[in-house]
């Protein structure tokens, strides 16, 4: 861990430091977990003190926060939003549903593992995770950014074929436009 940090150049270190302390979150309220986000952002838990702030559109966002289960229909939109985000970008998967399907493990239209479709940096488990857990997840992401490990977009681009194959297995009628990424 420390070795990696030492291997960074000073410019990279500063950049990563700024990225770490300024996380614009695109909270994609796909499932029931979205209700935990207001609690995290407002007075009691106040995520803004860590530099975490909501972003309105994927263009401005750094972190894609998937809050809960993803229907296949929603997955399409999530992929779209993810691809519209600009590097470096990070994904936090939130709740059990994104890990193994959670209580929707046998549903016919809810995906079970998010990581098959887009790369995930940090999982926060629980159903629902409490705001403390969310903040702990953000902390973990910040550590990862500071180490320079969080190269989510690169991972996606390098393994694009694998991700695309998985995505197309679920989204049968693949109508994602060519221009999108």
């Amino acid at each position: 861990m420390e070795t990696k940090k030492d291997s960074q150049t000073i410019a990279e270190y500063i950049k990563n430091w700024s990225r770490k302390h300024s996380l614009f979150v695109m909270a994609y309220g796909t499932g029931c977990g979205a209700i935990e986000i207001p609690a995290t952002m407002t007075s009691r838990y106040d995520a803004e003190r860590l530099g975490i702030r909501g972003a309105a559109t994927p263009r401005q966002a750094d972190v894609l926060l998937i809050t809960g289960y993803l229907a296949t229909k929603t997955l399409k939109r999530v992929i779209r939003v993810y691809e519209q985000m600009q590097d470096p970008k990070y994904v936090i998967a939130f709740g059990s549903c994104t890990i193994n399907g959670g209580m929707y493990y046998d549903s016919y239209n809810t995906i079970n593992v998010l990581e098959k479709y887009i790369p995930v940096d940090v999982y926060i488990n629980g159903c629902m995770p409490r705001p403390e857990a969310v903040i702990a997840g953000f902390k973990q992401l910040q550590d990862k950014i500071a180490r320079g490990d969080a190269d989510n977009g690169t991972r996606y681009k390098e393994n694009l074929d694998w991700y695309r194959a998985n995505q197309q297995q679920v989204i049968k009628n693949w109508r994602m436009p060519d221009y999108n990424w």
Partner: protein, 620 residues
């Protein structure tokens, strides 16, 4: 032969030849129009300044034509814009029917305008005025569309203006038995013109019609919209300035040269000027409000022309050196930027088929040059530095503030701030927004259409830093109007309080900052910078389908409209409609006297006789 007469002859005979040549080829009239305007232009610019004198005595009348320094400013505008517009018209009118009629009238009206600015007697002034009015009327109804709303309004108002002018001319003639303008001015100076005020008001009424001033503007938006774009540029750019020319003649030459000792006359002059200025300000405000709710780009520009003419009128009506200068500067600029805008809209109409902003969008990549010229003219129109429009606006504001017309400044400021709204509307509506598939076939207009627009756009850019290029002829022209020693500098603006604005520094700062920002933003991280299409937008993750139009075009300024709804409640056309309906009813009532019944007429005779008897009885 006399050069001035030759120029007019070239134009008028060119008109006839153009009309006849349509039989030979559809293409020929446009070419002949272009050639004759080019010839007239070459003749004008190659001849020395003192040859433009022409006298003709006929049927006991002396026709005098002379181009002085003030007229010369307008001649520059007329010839310059007409030349560019006729070059543009070659491409624009391609494949259209009845070109002969169009170019006949176009050349006729250009000749008419030249005659107006050169006329030094009221008869030839009036004759040329009517030539201009009629030829422009024929062009307005040329497309044949919507004759009732357009043609009739235009004709009725022009006729009203012409009658008023004729009455004024006769009034003056009955007083001093001359038509010559110089003699009239001399007579005014010697106070030999008892009907000066009445005649001035009537003349101003006639000119206000052409300048589309507030209560008399109703013909303008439709007429500007209906005329083909190549002519609308001239129509709105210079033809409407003939009203301004006339106003300058009356307000600044005739009334100003009156004896200053005559208190009432001076008072009247100031009074008329104030009223005109306020009318101009109200015109500017109201027309701007109506411009921003239009959905057709050409109609929007038509309303905007009315508004801009309001500013120009203010400057002339206030009558201080700075305001007159501002007004004339704005007049030339208006010819440039509104000419460009109408030409650009014509190009859009020709290439994309419509100027309805709810139907087209995202043409920026298809018509980049048209977008560029539109952008430059819109920035000039809005008066944003560093382009030329700012110079005119600045001088107008400073003239009004230093003159104490503070509330008028607020009205003008309101209208020019609201002008940002429609400026953005037109840029966004046509060139920005989503790129749609149904406009994918649109190509850039041909070079012969682009070139005139680009020339004017470059002029606007140059005048933004070097307005002195234009101050020079304006200052010379103002000498004729009686403003001696108007001071001007090439790149510095100043008002009577001694405050200055240095345009050179402004342009330099903007240039340096912009280039620095451009380099920084373009070079920094250029590997990661990507240009994506307008369909790649964040719509909450939804993928817009091909046929889904996401452009925001309808009810564009609805919130503003709601906020300003009291201002939209009254429409001038409705008032005129009510007036005409009322008159109709009145005459209808009057007509009832004539019942067509012999007994009723017999009764009238009896009543009349009784009344007569009673009257005679009483008097005896």
């Amino acid at each position: 032969m006399n050069t001035l007469a030759l120029i007019l002859l070239i134009l008028f005979s060119g008109a006839i030849v153009a009309f006849l040549s349509e039989k030979v080829s559809k293409f020929l009239p446009s070419l002949i129009a272009f050639i004759s305007i080019t010839a007239a232009g070459i003749l004008f610019y190659t001849s020395p300044a003192d040859v433009f004198n022409f006298k003709l005595s006929m049927a006991g009348l002396n026709f005098t034509l002379k181009i002085d320094e003030f007229s010369r400013l307008f001649v520059h505008m007329i010839i310059g814009l007409s030349w560019l517009a006729s070059m543009y018209a070659v491409g624009y009118m391609q494949n259209k029917e009845r070109q002969g009629t169009f170019f006949f009238n176009m050349l006729l009206s250009i000749g008419g305008m030249l005659g107006i600015v050169a006329a030094r007697d009221l008869v030839s002034f009036f004759v040329f005025w009517e030539i201009m009015t009629w030829s422009s009327f024929l062009i307005v109804v040329w497309t044949g569309a919507d004759f009732r709303r357009t043609g009739i309004w235009y004709m009725v108002f022009s006729a009203m203006g012409a009658y008023a002018m004729l009455m004024a001319i006769m009034m003056i003639y009955s007083d001093i038995h001359t038509f010559n303008i110089d003699e009239i001015i001399a007579a005014i100076a010697e106070q030999r013109l008892p009907h000066l005020v009445e005649a001035s008001v009537l003349l101003l009424f006639g000119f206000s019609v052409k300048a589309a001033l507030m209560p008399l503007h109703v013909w303008a938006p439709n007429a500007y919209t209906q005329a083909p774009a190549a002519y609308t540029a001239i129509f709105s750019g210079v033809l409407s300035k003939m009203g301004i020319f006339g106003m300058a003649l009356v307000l600044l030459s005739m009334l100003k040269f009156a004896n200053p000792a005559d208190f009432s006359l001076v008072y009247i002059n100031g009074f008329i000027g104030q009223i005109l200025a306020w009318l101009g300000a109200i015109t500017a405000a109201i027309a701007t409000l109506y411009a921003l709710i239009q959905t057709d780009a050409k109609k929007l520009l038509a309303y905007s022309s009315v508004a801009q003419l309001g500013y120009i009128t203010i400057g002339i009506a206030i009558g201080t050196p700075l305001s007159v200068m501002a007004s004339l500067f704005l007049a030339v600029l208006h010819a440039l930027f509104k000419g460009t805008l109408f030409l650009a809209m014509g190009a859009v109409e020709r290439q994309a088929g419509t100027t309805d902003m709810t139907k087209i969008s995202g043409l920026i990549r298809r018509m980049p040059w048209t977008f560029f010229v539109t952008l430059v003219s819109i920035i000039s129109l809005a008066g944003v530095p560093p382009l030329a429009g700012f110079v005119g606006k600045w001088m107008l504001y400073e003239a009004l503030i230093t003159n104490g017309n503070v509330f008028m400044v607020v009205v003008v400021f309101f209208s020019s701030t609201a002008a940002f709204l429609y400026s953005y509307r037109i840029l966004f509506g046509i060139f920005l927004g989503q790129e749609e598939d149904d406009t994918a076939h649109v190509k850039e207009a041909p070079l012969s259409m682009i070139l005139p627009m680009v020339v004017m756009a470059l002029l606007l850019i140059a005048l933004g830093t070097y307005p002195g290029l234009l101050f020079d002829p304006i200052a010379q022209g103002m000498t004729v109007l009686g403003f001696e020693n108007v001071t001007w500098q090439m790149t510095v603006l100043s008002n009577v309080w001694g405050n200055t604005v240095n345009l050179m520094y402004i342009s330099t700062t903007i240039g340096v900052a912009f280039v620095a920002a451009l380099l920084f933003l373009t070079l920094k991280g250029r590997k990661g910078s990507r240009n994506v299409g307008t369909k790649d937008i964040s719509t909450s993750g939804e993928i817009p389908l091909e046929h889904e139009n996401l452009t925001y075009q309808l009810d564009f300024f609805k919130p503003f409209e709601r906020a300003a709804s009291p201002l939209y409640r009254r429409k001038m056309t409705k008032i005129y409609d009510d007036l005409s309906n009322g008159l109709d009813a009145l005459f209808d009532f009057t007509r009832k006297i004539y019942t067509g019944n012999g007994q009723t007429y017999a009764l009238y005779v009896v009543i009349f006789l009784v009344a007569l008897l009673i009257y005679v009885q009483n008097t005896l």
